[in-house]
Symmetry: D2
Subunit: 363 residues, 4 copies
């Protein structure tokens, strides 16, 4: 089904930006996992409008509620339904624009596909708001992964062309958590921040790049041919709204290297086989090799901008102009950091279960 | 199942590089499609070692045989099994290397995952040779897509950092078909060729970038959330061995643009809604918008190189050296062009069927 | 995922008997279907405790709420989430029994599988109460099927060994709807009723058989080999709690007939090919043949009975006795009639979509 | 995809009755399983025309060939393709009947569904011959199950209304293996045999019932709601051509019992919880309870009979007569015994893998 992802650890998403709720059903979570809203709420907080200038001035109060699958703060093995009830949704801004297609949004494609019956308010199911469901599922997946030592984190590595300096992963993780733009390089973060302020005044928007990292991934996750770990990660990440590209390890840069430069030499260290470099991003032949799993995800700039744009009035089938007012992020990248983590975690959790690494009952 | 891809038009792949065969089962092909080996053989020819210097000096005689699903040159509606019997497979080069892990290959991950039972000869199921199965399925998918006017083609846009000049798609398609490196820009192709010759002498290898394009894609392919068209294309393309990145439309470059630059303005042309630019690559909200669907795929340089590399003898668990002799491509990019086309076609065909655009019986 | 069913029209179920809610996510519903709680509530009413003696004395007030996928009373094409909030759930009866395994229930298997973390209150997700989710999905599926003229209904054909007389389907449908036991043969219904009263006094319970019928099914639903229409119906029906058998057309009786008796002769009537008899139950080779689709489903007697039974105290691992008090149906068969209809409708709807018979937008 | 079954242990079937081959791709088989054609050939022998009068006089020489997934007699973890090449297929008998619909066969439904492009020779993919693919997969599944002590067997319990006496399972298993009709009760077998001889002379056919049993099934196989063990077994068994019904444990008879009769009391025996009776057939709440898993499957009489039947000439759209000559079984039940075993084994193997009971590498 099209709103489901995963095989053993699988999630089903529903809801709308301006409808009643955003929700997720998590299927295949082992029984016995301690689970509370407090495990999920912080990630939703990171996804929510932050304190930084980058983010929308809305204050969505996203409070997760557990609707099924948890009894006395432990998972039961039954599907877990998590829900956020939408509050104070204001359709007026969208009502005025209803017949004018917002460039860069799903207005045109959804309207055509669904004969105009689609929920047009704020993009409906095509809204970035749906990623709150991803984050709820991701928080559960990360808690499961922790039981086998796998850790997933992400951080902002570029905004509007300003690139962050690379840091050791442990460092990057800690620093990014404290940075308002989720960027580990504070000098770059300051520049990004200045650019965001400038672009905000112009009524424009910015995109950027997030790097996701998974540490302590066991060797052997991924199945041959069509259940490669990278193929499934690519799908899960590109399914995030606004993502336009994904690359693993050296990625597009690898296409410019020679084999002798790109190949990661193997060596034995402390009785384990590792590679001296990590151009592969931790995946060889579609299977994890035990090195840090590294993926970079390109986000396009926010489509909703205050500047006037050329577009079409779909009811009159005539060219017209549009200014998308409302409370929009200049750059959604910092808010998307926990979303990237979540899609990585959901995918890794499914593959770890398929590899038989996670027991059906956790104790 | 891990060796299957697709929902209504679905393929299952099996076989090995140095085993008995490479095969594919195609499920969900409409009945009544005229189908002959002659429809498939040319694409296999393009995938096979070419005449150019880029390619392996092997001459794999890949002859497709129809094992099921076709009667009197028409598809029957039953699963179509297509098979290539491997010939003259020579294991001796691999036998000598058996315990030494080839850098950049699946030797280490497959061996660990399968406890050493994996077919190590030429990579077994992790070999690039498996893409012959993709190409057989892709030829069928493209023939189906043609019945609704959709055309898929791909071409080399970069090798070893040398980039081809952009050309109009119709032009690019024709020129790429005639170029030994499947590159539409003949000046760039000449440079690429020179570089390949040079690198070949060094015993080294090159990667590159392929652009895939689908024309006349109807508006509306793609399903919400987890069956986005781009998410599924990303998965299908990253499942190709050696792929390290994928991007749609402006892709990673979009992350450096402002919203006002990246958004594609809508306009009405000849009674249809189109966009004036195509930074989206033909996909909005995970759904095709009728513009050319454009994707770029990064291939790492061939992992098997003649130069000496540091590695590990996995049986002795000791560092050692390896020189991978044998007949290997300096650059597999030109041969991967029909593979990219095939994975795009298989994915598009599945989504076109899900959108109800392809009848179950073709007449 | 294990709580999902279907490919194009797919449902995901969650919730618990004594938890917060019972819910379903319906994926793949075409856009433009008029949908209101009033379309669903009546079927829930039929599933709820009836007026007859057969049923529990509980009065579950099952009110469906639409949480997503519907805008201004039309489906949007996005996943539809329907929810019933549980009310006045009383755990006390279950608390007392917690460590004693109820014979015929999932207590032992669920407890073992989930290490005791399963929701033991009223069976949790293994409760018959979960079928309220099936019925919500079924109501939507039946409304879709009506757009192509397909009608699904079910009726009680046996309770406790008392069998109803066969009637023409149109007749049976109308009479069953009015009968408190959903039995079209009023004489048999009276006898069943008397038996139920008698068995109720004994603190015992009864099972029975439901016949499901689908009329005007187009020829051609069902796919070869593993997506046979009957195979998928069998799965969907056996997934209903308490079902122990399923048969199509002549079913088990066919195993006693000769080929010349069981084969349905073809004939031409009004320009259409039909069969003179319908021992096949409307399915040949796993594909619908246009005749009424007929399936019979065996329900075991209610497992929860007031009489004393031998069992095990799982915490003490000792034999003991149990009397399951609480409000239980003597015979759940009449309440299961809309459940059988629902699982048939959900399955038929999926196959009709796969056959391309239902447009993605209904107008 | 419609020709695939299973999630972790999954099979894909292809081929035709009178085409080039019958084949199966087995995905998810653990690496390190010793596997040889000698493991599969005996089951194919049992499925092939037997020595008894019941069976076709054809002598299909079904020789299995391994096309992938096995290296030096051990499975590699890659998909296993097993193939039987068809030999001496004689289409002449079918050619003559081509436009006349054989009652009880898929001729009409397949022809309608596929617009006449279906392979009509011997039923094509709808032929009982396809079950040879099931048996090849089943042989592999049973070998895997043996590693965790699970044993699957089936036997004929009724033919043409003659029922076999119940025997202890160990007894039944041994005796059935030696009986030409795979019936453990030799007195009943003799009567069945006599009936078959009589009906053969009449040019007619017989159906029957097969009981499938799985011993030593661990507690806990099966997932909640839509991946119940019984639901999936029902699907897999009804997917066998000619099956019209399936029941678990007491099955349809349970519908006539009272709760106090049907409930299986729990007791502790040798430190384990068991049930004193087994009306549940080893499944409670869709999950195995450790008791013998018992299922009965109803087969209709062979549809192809030598007697004249009324039918339709589909090209002339006129009523006509048909006599199906050719080499057909009077009763396919004895040959279907390994097919029932196979579908049970394939399903159990998938669920055992999902429960994490089978390692990915067998040593």
């Amino acid at each position: 089904m099209s709103s489901s992802l995963g095989k053993l650890f699988a999630i089903t998403v529903f809801g709308e930006s301006h409808g009643r709720c955003v929700g997720v059903v998590i299927d295949g979570c082992p029984a016995g996992l301690p689970l509370d809203v407090a495990d999920i709420q912080p990630d939703l907080g990171r996804r929510r409008a932050g304190a930084g200038v980058a983010s929308t001035t809305r204050r969505e109060k996203d409070r997760v509620e557990v609707f099924s699958g948890v009894l006395e703060s432990f998972t039961t093995g039954a599907p877990i339904c998590l829900l956020i009830m939408n509050k104070n949704v204001d359709d007026s801004a969208y009502e005025a624009l209803k017949s004018r297609l917002r460039p860069g949004q799903a207005d045109f494609t959804a309207r055509t596909k669904y004969g105009g019956f689609n929920d047009w308010r704020g993009g409906g199911i095509f809204s970035g708001r749906m990623t709150a469901a991803f984050v709820m599922a991701g928080a559960v997946a990360r808690k499961i992964l922790k039981t086998i030592g796998v850790e997933v984190f992400a951080h902002t590595v570029a905004i509007g062309g300003i690139e962050a300096r690379a840091l050791p992963y442990e460092d990057a993780k800690k620093k990014a958590l404290k940075d308002p733009l989720a960027c580990a390089d504070s000098a770059a973060s300051a520049k990004m921040n200045a650019l965001i302020e400038k672009v905000k005044k112009e009524g424009d928007s910015l995109g950027g790049v997030i790097e996701g990292v998974a540490l302590n991934v066991p060797v052997g996750l991924g199945e041959p041919i069509f259940d490669s770990l990278d193929g499934n990660l690519a799908k899960a990440l590109v399914d995030i709204p606004a993502v336009k590209g994904v690359e693993f390890g050296a990625g597009f840069a690898a296409a410019r290297l020679k084999g002798s430069e790109n190949n990661d030499p193997f060596t034995v260290e402390k009785g384990k086989v590792i590679t001296k470099s990590n151009n592969s991003g931790g995946i060889l032949g579609g299977i994890s090799n035990g090195m840090p799993l590294v993926v970079r995800v390109a986000f396009k700039p926010t489509a909703s901008i205050a500047r006037e744009q050329a577009t079409v009035d779909i009811e009159k089938m005539k060219d017209t102009k549009i200014k998308v007012s409302g409370r929009h992020d200049v750059c959604i990248v910092p808010r998307a950091v926990p979303v990237v983590e979540s899609m990585m975690a959901v995918t890794l959790c499914d593959f770890a279960m398929r590899a038989g690494l996670i027991p059906r009952v956790l104790k």
